[in-house]
Symmetry: C2
Subunit: 317 residues, 2 copies
């Protein structure tokens, strides 16, 4: 067992997924009480603006702009009470995410609201900004779902620039929620094939890895085996972690693994999947190298499913 068999951080599988890069200094555990107020008054502050799961972009330059001075967002209905301090850029300028209330169809030129998925599918933002948007989207979603205390029903208030919510009534503190999700490529080493499934809500022809939430009291490896058995009927032996990815829908942490198939007969769960089958390595290589309109397709580059499938299909040996 070699201690560090992988390449350095820049080449690690997790870094090669969308939303993974982020160079902000969050300082989330070391924030003064008035950190948000200070950031709102700092003229260097730049902010992302979000609205119902979409990011505001300005299309007046060659590359769309996603970061705005706060003054620019005022006319769009910026809700500064719900702003979250993401952290600090390399020049120490505060960086925020701010919900805006203007409806997407009422946005003036040159603004457009773009859903988070399209941001990486269409490569609209450089990777570090994509990572900051994931962080911001997750925090806005969590704050919105924790406005009341789950224990006593009292109104909570945002602290630490949106990194904590306190209940003044019963004094309980709430911290951001991140949901661990296992996503796995099951590999049949003997027949050199992998297992992919199709959910009814996928775009036509697309097949992907199986996935599911980690349950309370469960290891990653057992979650991979349980979900695979439940969804496909395939029993797994060994499980190997490969990469993780922040996934802001609304605040998940994808845990990408390989699973070793111990059986071959698929009995898929038709309430979750509309198809599930084995794909040979050469078939998968073809899907990745020459995507066709009508044939089976893999998930888009940037997804951790794409990473798992690619790293298996083209690995040596």
């Amino acid at each position: 067992m070699a201690a560090f068999p992988f390449d350095g951080p820049s080449q690690e599988a997790s870094r090669l997924t969308a939303f993974a890069e982020n160079t902000l200094d969050r300082r989330s555990e070391n924030r003064p009480r008035d950190c948000l107020l200070t950031a709102l008054r700092d003229h260097r502050t730049l902010a992302y603006a979000v609205m119902n799961g979409r990011l505001l972009l300005a299309f007046d330059e060659a590359t769309p702009a996603a970061l705005f001075p706060l003054a620019k967002l005022a006319s769009l209905g910026a809700d500064l009470d719900r702003a979250v301090l993401l952290g600090f850029a390399s020049d120490m300028a505060p960086r925020l995410v701010v919900p805006v209330s203007t409806e997407a169809e009422d946005l003036p030129v040159p603004y457009k609201a773009v859903d988070y998925r399209s941001l990486y599918m269409q490569a609209l933002l450089p990777p570090p900004l994509l990572g900051e948007v994931a962080q911001g989207a997750s925090l806005i979603a969590w704050n919105d779902s924790a406005r009341y205390c789950g224990r006593c029903g009292g109104r909570t208030r945002s602290e630490c620039g949106g990194y904590r919510r306190d209940c003044p009534a019963c004094e309980k503190q709430y911290f951001p929620r991140t949901d661990p999700v296992v996503i796995m490529l099951t590999v049949d080493e003997v027949k050199d094939r992998c297992l992919l499934g199709r959910s009814p809500h996928f775009r036509p022809g697309m097949f992907s890895c199986l996935a599911g939430f980690v349950e309370p009291g469960e290891t990653i490896e057992d979650a991979v085996r349980r979900e695979t058995l439940e969804e496909s009927g395939i029993a797994l032996g060994r499980v190997r972690y490969h990469a993780s990815q922040p996934w802001p829908f609304p605040h998940s942490l994808m845990l990408g693994c390989y699973g070793q198939a111990l059986s071959g007969e698929i009995r898929f769960d038709s309430t979750e999947l509309e198809d599930c089958r084995w794909f040979s390595r050469s078939e998968v290589r073809g899907m990745l190298s020459h995507p066709s309109e009508d044939g089976p397709a893999t998930p888009a580059e940037g997804t951790i499913a794409h990473r798992l499938i690619t790293d298996w299909a083209f690995r040596e040996g």
Copy 2:
């Protein structure tokens, strides 16, 4: 890159941690509405009883009993409205966890309330039961913290035997929360030593791995590097996942990793740690093989920190 370099499930590092084993069939995604009611009426049902972070044990046999028929719990103030269905045993008998209201000091003979930590420290339960207790403890804690809707403040109600909570007022659904936490052993490969820290609340002499919550929009690897830099001042290069562990305090998922040290000078965060230093491999082997009363000590067997430290200290090469 070999696909499955590790041993089978029974030998995987995750399985060798406390709380990791669990053979119940949870069926959490496929439960009828009345599943809890059915279980409460089933004479085969056995239940764990919990009270303020402790488990009820009966010490009337050679080995303490942790599973009770519901009738036995009635006189202890069993709160069946807050019961959670964990799943089904191999004979299909339902298994529950039930909060009881009797205070620990008022418990009749032969009952005692034992905190979850002592359960594995003193090996009071066989491993599969320990895993079920972790599942139950996490679910009870989550249900108690989600009695009101975070979005609208309405009273939520338990569904799916405690695996979901619904808000009748705004129709939002809540699912159990699991907090991913990175815990890492930083290894200096050149000097063949590892980094351990001491939190002020540790028992005297104990040193352990550094750890911290994964933040929104962060990969496991970046969380390991960030927390290590924040707490110790040591910069990390490569990060390798080793094992995971369910940790019911109150509902975490420990993600155990190794980190490659790129620097050697420690500047530890004195708000979190009271000491942090390098330990040579031979020093660590000594701590593991011949624990002394007064010398530095490692965390107890069963913890993922113990697993990370042991697997590094005794690995070949």
